[in-house]
């Protein structure tokens, strides 16, 4: 019996700026319905890896395959949608205009937009301009935009940044539902959050892969027994 190819297969992704190597031969796979967390200290190369994956940054080397078929950089946007951190797009427009644009661009029915707005509890601020939203609402709007895309893989950079605990738990529940249909790659700074939501974790440090697997597998790698992710992280990045 042959084993089914993973949804996404990443091999040997490398990226450097002059002499500095930001990503060094990074490999990982992503399965259908999986939530993969990318963790690592500041400057580990998390954002660079995500931007190289979707083709927003040119990688120096490496291959990306979808379902076993290599996908060139130009066609990556058909497979993956990446939501960067720290962006503030279309701030002079009301929320409903921005979500409406994404719905129209991707040809979704009207009820899908309504459902996403309801899911993310954006309905009270639909008529507000984006620049009048609080940080939490702005994050939710960006998540709504990501959910109004059709790609089978969602890549979210710091999806819980700006949320309080209750909101974070709510968004985690929501992302769990999303993962039933789409695989997720999340870059997460807060290790507690990563531990709560991710099926597997990719630990990066200085552009190198230090570990890949479930928390138990990483703990074993760090010889840390039944440690939590923070202890594993400290153990592996020491």
């Amino acid at each position: 019996m042959t084993q089914a190819a993973p949804l996404l297969s990443v091999r040997g992704i490398s990226k450097g700026y002059g002499e500095a190597l930001v990503l060094d031969d990074v490999d990982f796979d992503l399965s259908h319905g999986e939530i993969l967390g990318i963790i690592g200290p500041n400057g580990a190369g998390k954002t660079t890896l995500m931007e190289c994956l979707v083709g927003l940054l040119a990688a120096d080397g490496g291959d990306v395959s979808l379902g076993g078929t290599p996908i060139p950089v130009k066609r990556r946007r058909e497979a993956m949608f990446y939501l960067p951190d720290g962006i503030a797009p279309w701030s002079d427009q009301p929320v409903w205009r921005v979500t409406g644009l994404f719905r129209e661009l991707h040809g979704f029915p009207l009820d899908r937009e309504a459902r996403v707005l309801r899911w993310l509890e954006l309905t009270p601020v639909m008529a507000k301009r984006v620049d009048a939203l609080s940080k939490g609402y702005r994050r939710r709007l960006l998540l709504a935009l990501a959910l109004l895309t059709p790609q089978p893989i969602l890549i979210l950079d710091e999806p819980f940044d700006g949320f309080d605990l209750r909101q974070t738990l709510h968004v985690m529940d929501l992302l769990r539902e999303v993962a039933a249909e789409r695989a997720l790659i999340l870059s997460i700074h807060q290790l507690k959050d990563a531990e709560r939501i991710c099926d597997r974790l990719l630990l990066l440090d200085a552009g190198r892969r230090l570990g890949l697997g479930t928390l138990a597998e990483l703990a074993e790698l760090a010889s840390a027994g039944k440690a939590d992710l923070e202890e594993v992280f400290l153990g592996l990045t020491a």
């Binding site: 797009p89 002079d92 309801r118 507000k128």
Partner: protein, 460 residues
């Protein structure tokens, strides 16, 4: 080949993106600031033009010979649109830069690059939105023309439409420069400085080309402001019009080559260089001397009989001017004769002899200063005149032909003493108020669509 299904799949999101871009331009302050400044500026241009035209017309109405000099193109259209030109040069770039620069600064570009629309189509949608905004700003000069017509003023359709076309092509070139600058620069402020450096640099180029050597004159032909001057003379300059379009569309197209953030520096540099090279080649190819005289008074044309014979002078006419280019006689010669001859005589060569004259007030060292030498085959003639009445017979003699001019109806002129008081109220009060009201109205978020109003918790 693109299937009809695929075309529809592109057209719908493209239309959605165009509407989005236009809404963003109308939601921003830059566009309304442009209109708000244009209203009194172009209004003042019109009011003053109507006043001066009226003063000149009082005498001209008594003397038909003087009336022939009263052309609405020079007297009303060019001054009114001249003020509008300032707006296009100095303020319109801010509207255009906003369309692209804001997406780079806010991070929206990173999302847009993942949309199902190719970047080229996205830039095209932005350019179309910017173009639509510019066309909306025509409300200012068009209302001036409406006042002129209501006062009983005359407008010739061909020369009026041609002048507006010239301004539209100029605006396209400015938008192209603004887009390219926004794609290159790290911030909108830098892009604005780069764009203004280009547009104001064209003024310097025009000045330098007017008095400089031949190669600088040839370079000056590429200047959008120089091209606009041809339209203002009632000409449709085929080459310059094509050059303006190539500059605008080409620079906007270059944005798609250098915008994607995934490109390596080497690839970006190579793409940019190849694009600029191709664009310069296209610009050079577009500069044919052909033009069509659309002025109602045929100011850019000789008598049709003269023109027919000049067009047959295909043995290589060379004109050598012993004049400094900045000399008023040279300027008069250029407008009375040289411009027209360049349009008509195939393979005409113009040479500016070294006169030893330095600067406008310097004295010429050459005894032959002021002489203009005509060489056609073996034939040679000299003259100091810059009047077509003397030079055309001389050229026909060189060609060995005799020409009998065709009888033409003389241009009657259109003198008019117009009252511009209502226009003053419109441009200085009513129109600015309407612009402010429209800006306020369009800045509102609008009513939620029905499918969202129905959601529980939606604002009323």
């Amino acid at each position: 080949m693109v299937s009809p299904h695929e075309s529809v799949a592109v057209v719908r999101p493209l239309a959605a993106l165009f509407r989005h871009e236009l809404r963003r331009l109308l939601a921003g302050r830059a566009f309304w600031a442009l209109l708000l400044i244009l209203a009194p500026l172009a209004g003042y241009g019109y009011v003053e033009a109507a006043r001066l035209f009226g003063e000149a017309s009082r005498t001209a109405l008594q003397f038909p010979e003087m009336a022939r000099a009263m052309t609405p193109l020079d007297g009303i259209l060019v001054p009114t649109l001249g003020a509008f030109y300032l707006g296009t040069t100095l303020l319109f770039p801010f509207v255009a830069i906003r369309a692209l620069g804001q997406d780079r600064e806010s991070g929206a570009l990173k999302l847009a690059l993942q949309w199902p629309l190719p970047l080229a189509l996205q830039v095209a949608a932005k350019l179309a939105a910017v173009g639509t905004a510019w066309f909306m700003s025509l409300v200012v000069p068009l209302s001036a023309l409406a006042f002129w017509r209501l006062s009983g003023g005359h407008l010739a359709f061909a020369e009026t439409a041609n002048l507006f076309l010239g301004h539209a092509l100029y605006a396209l070139a400015v938008a192209g420069i603004a887009f390219f600058a926004a794609a290159l620069a790290e911030s909108a402020a830098t892009a604005a400085i780069v764009t203004l450096a280009f547009t104001l640099g064209f003024w310097v180029l025009d000045f330098a080309a007017a008095t400089g050597p031949e190669w600088l004159k040839a370079l000056g032909d590429l200047s959008p402001t120089q091209a606009l001057k041809s339209f203002e003379r009632g000409l449709f300059p085929v080459g310059q019009a094509a050059a303006l379009a190539v500059m605008g569309l080409g620079l906007a197209a270059l944005c798609t080559l250098i915008l994607p953030p995934g490109l390596s520096a080497r690839a970006r540099w190579m793409r940019g260089s190849a694009g600029v090279g191709a664009l310069l080649t296209l610009l050079a190819a577009a500069l044919t001397p052909q033009s069509v005289d659309l002025a109602e008074d045929r100011r850019n044309s000789f008598n049709p009989a003269d023109e027919a014979e000049l067009a047959r002078m295909d043995r290589g006419l060379t004109i050598t001017l012993h004049l400094a280019p900045e000399d008023s006689r040279a300027r008069e010669y250029a407008s009375n004769l040289l411009g027209k001859l360049k349009r008509l005589v195939p393979g005409l060569t113009v040479r500016w002899a070294e006169t030893g004259k330095t600067g406008i007030f310097g004295a010429a060292q050459d005894d032959r200063y002021g002489l203009i030498v005509y060489q056609y085959g073996e034939q040679r003639a000299e003259s100091r005149s810059n009047s077509p009445r003397e030079i055309l017979p001389l050229l026909h003699e060189l060609a060995g032909v005799q020409v009998t001019p065709v009888a033409l109806e003389p241009y009657p002129g259109h003198p008019l003493v117009a009252d511009a008081r209502m226009a003053e109220i419109w441009f200085y009060a009513l129109l600015p108020i309407l612009i402010l009201l429209a800006a306020g109205l369009l800045a509102r978020p609008g009513r939620l669509p029905s499918h969202l109003r129905a959601i529980q918790g939606a604002p009323p």
